[in-house]
């Protein structure tokens, strides 16, 4: 197969083989031009350090107008194709379905062996009747399969007629078996492709509705049933950033100019930080300077540990500086909160979906929500309230599992801290995390906890069989093959009603209890 031409881009398919794979597709030409599942000619080889066993998760970004998609096609894709060309050209035996290419040093191709056999035995080589449905499957047995047809080397006794016939028969059986497998595989791939097309069609039609109908009438329509239902299905990636921005709002009235101001402050600080000897500063100004420097150090440290498998936030990666800027500006904007681990993941997801200044505005406003503020200020007593409210709904929705966890004294902080701090962007595949963010923007903090319960529900049967350490291990490292359909159907089944009280009411009454409790006896954090 020829390398994909760099331009014009009728179709591009960029796959980064990683934990959270971004796949960017722009599809304007007819789908039949597409190669079959997973066989895009330009599919790059996984980066060398990438563990191959990592599951692939995909975020489809369809349609034009997405700045992110354009970014990829402009920068990433062209660069990658150039890098890849030699690899593609040097692989002449590259097979359509990813079979091991026959190496050049192999003595004989199986077809040749087979033909030789036909010639020797006088039997006509009848190519297997091509399946009517799958004409494009070019089946070719592995080279070693046909070895059974070969005559024995001269120093060994020759095959008898019966033996040769039996070998012929065995060979045919092996071929038939392998072919059946191939066809089955091909059908599976085709089905997946069909589902993907369907999904992309849905996204495309949803995008039209979002762009033409909803966004121009945002305030009037955002709360309507129709919009809320469409919203639940997941936002088309091209409008995702816009809808997030609108839904998060800008209570803090941050302007792009303000962002620039804080960014330049952050830059000054970095400069002075790298110029001065840090030890002197600690002596001079005490803990606050040390903290601030620790915070700058920490940002630097964490950026490279944010979605490491995407290779875009790491040093030298395209979004490294951007992530640095947004986080740095935030620590200048909110020195009272500063930088807290977990933030880099949130900022990164926003950067993937929004322009720089908009990402900052959404970031600052998002972190200003009560739940996020409680967590990022590490307000322990407030966090315990959230955990307690979560447990109310946990017991209501999954009583059996709730008791099981209780019996091991497995408290929600063990798994919820990671989930809430990063808004699931570290724990779930990125595309799925984005869908959670979509509905989080619609429903607010309660959806974060509802998602947590959805995850517990999805894995309830497995978790019920596990003991403390296995549950803890499982929940702090969720399976990578979790699918959005399954998860969202589990989330949908979670009722956020506790004896007619909704999340906000349950939470409020817990807060009230706390105040009354404070009066009666000294507050002892129940942890």
């Amino acid at each position: 197969p020829a390398a994909l031409p760099a331009a014009p881009l009728a179709f591009t398919d960029v796959n980064l083989n990683s934990r959270n794979t971004y796949e960017v597709s722009r599809r304007r030409s007819a789908p039949e031009h597409l190669p079959h599942g997973g066989t895009a000619p330009a599919e790059p080889a996984p980066p060398p350090q990438e563990p191959a066993e990592r599951a692939r998760h995909r975020v489809g970004i369809a349609g034009a107008g997405s700045s992110f998609a354009e970014f990829f096609t402009r920068n990433f894709f062209t660069k990658r194709t150039k890098e890849l060309k030699p690899a593609v050209q040097s692989a002449p035996g590259w097979k359509l379905f990813g079979k091991v290419p026959p190496r050049e040093n192999l003595p004989k191709d199986s077809k040749i062996i087979q033909q030789e056999y036909e010639a020797r035995t006088g039997r006509m080589y009848k190519p297997p009747p091509p399946s009517a449905r799958r004409k494009n499957i070019e089946f070719e047995p592995l080279s070693t399969t046909a070895l059974i047809l070969e005559d024995r080397p001269a120093n060994l006794p020759a095959k008898s007629v019966e033996e040769a016939l039996r070998h012929r028969q065995e060979y045919d059986e092996m071929v038939a078996e392998a072919k059946k497998r191939e066809i089955k595989e091909a059908h599976k791939r085709k089905k997946i492709m069909r589902e993907r097309f369907k999904q992309e069609e849905n996204i495309a039609s949803a995008m039209v509705i979002w762009v033409n109908e909803i966004l121009p009438n945002w305030e009037g329509m955002r709360a309507t049933r129709r919009v809320r239902e469409l919203w639940w299905q997941g936002l088309p990636p091209s409008v995702r950033g816009k809808v997030w921005s609108l839904a998060v709002g800008n209570e803090l009235n941050i302007t792009p100019e303000l962002y620039e101001i804080f960014l330049s402050r952050a830059k000054e600080r970095w400069k002075s930080f790298s110029e001065t000897n840090s030890e002197n500063d600690i002596e001079d100004a005490g803990a606050s300077v040390a903290d601030r420097e620790a915070s700058l150090e920490l940002i630097k440290l964490d950026i490279s540990r944010t979605f490491p498998s995407l290779y875009i936030f790491q040093k030298g990666g395209p979004y490294h500086d951007l992530l640095h800027s947004v986080l740095g500006a935030y620590t200048c904007y909110r020195p009272d909160v500063g930088y807290v681990q977990g933030m880099s993941f949130i900022a990164a997801v926003l950067i993937l979906n929004l322009e720089e200044a908009d990402a900052f505005i959404a970031f600052a406003n998002l972190l200003n929500k009560p739940c996020q503020l409680a967590f990022f200020r590490v307000d322990h007593s407030m966090m315990l309230k959230y955990f307690a409210a979560f447990e109310v709904f946990f017991e209501e929705n999954l009583p059996k599992l709730f008791l099981h966890f209780k019996s091991y004294s497995l408290t929600p902080d063990i798994y919820l801290i990671d989930w809430i701090f990063t808004l699931y962007s570290k724990s779930l595949p990125l595309d799925l995390a984005c869908r959670v963010w979509d509905v989080f923007c619609r429903d607010g903090e309660e959806f974060l906890f509802r998602t947590g319960l959805g995850i517990l529900r999805l894995y309830e049967d497995i978790l019920l069989q596990m003991d403390f350490i296995h549950i803890a291990q499982f929940l702090t490292k969720l399976p990578e093959d979790i699918t959005s359909e399954k998860l969202f159907s589990c989330i949908a089944a979670i009722q956020m009603q506790n004896s007619n009280k909704k999340w906000a009411q349950v939470f409020a009454s817990l807060m009230k209890d706390n105040k009354e409790g404070d009066k009666n006896h000294s507050p002892a954090p129940k942890s």
Binding site: G338, V378, Y408, F421
Partner: protein, 213 residues
Amino acid sequence: MGSAEEDYNFVFKVVLIGESGVGKTNLLSRFTRNEFNHDSRTTIGVEFSTRTILVGDAVVKAQIWDTAGLERYRAITSAYYRGAVGALVVFDITKHQTYDVVDRWLKELYDHAEASIVVMLVGNKTDLAQAREVPMEEAKMFADNNGLLFVETSALDSTNVEEAFETILKEIFHKVQKQKQRSSQSNTVSLASESPTSTAPAQAERRPCCVAL
């Protein structure tokens, strides 16, 4: 003995603490899975791993809690020390600051854990010897003065990782054995975590802390 594939005599809960970025997660992954990840992700909250090793005739299951290093998180992570019988306090030999705060980590630890907890000071990243900022003698002396075990490791090239965990697990084991002898004399304390039976393998899991030292 246990009925499942997991037969063990003891469960020891060990916590990994120390500043962010010193390599706690990689030490753990090197020990439990023999893996090192150059691009490991920031730990938020706590992560878990286990590995079973043989100490003498006893099968010891190490249940290791890998905590987030961020100072701000300490309020929430301190609860994780409860029931720990061992702790690895990790610093980065190429960053003096991570060594300077070992004192604070120890204080934090002793505030929340049993006084008898076995603590090991671990200077990690010996593969970066050319960038060393903390002399080995200094750290060793600090450890001796504070009654800590001490080892220098490299999660990257595997140096001493196995030894570090084995040493601390053996030390815990010996403490437990001594405790056992004493308790069998006085006949008061029972080690609930010992020899989980098929009916209650969970008990040891649930309360790894019940190996009271």
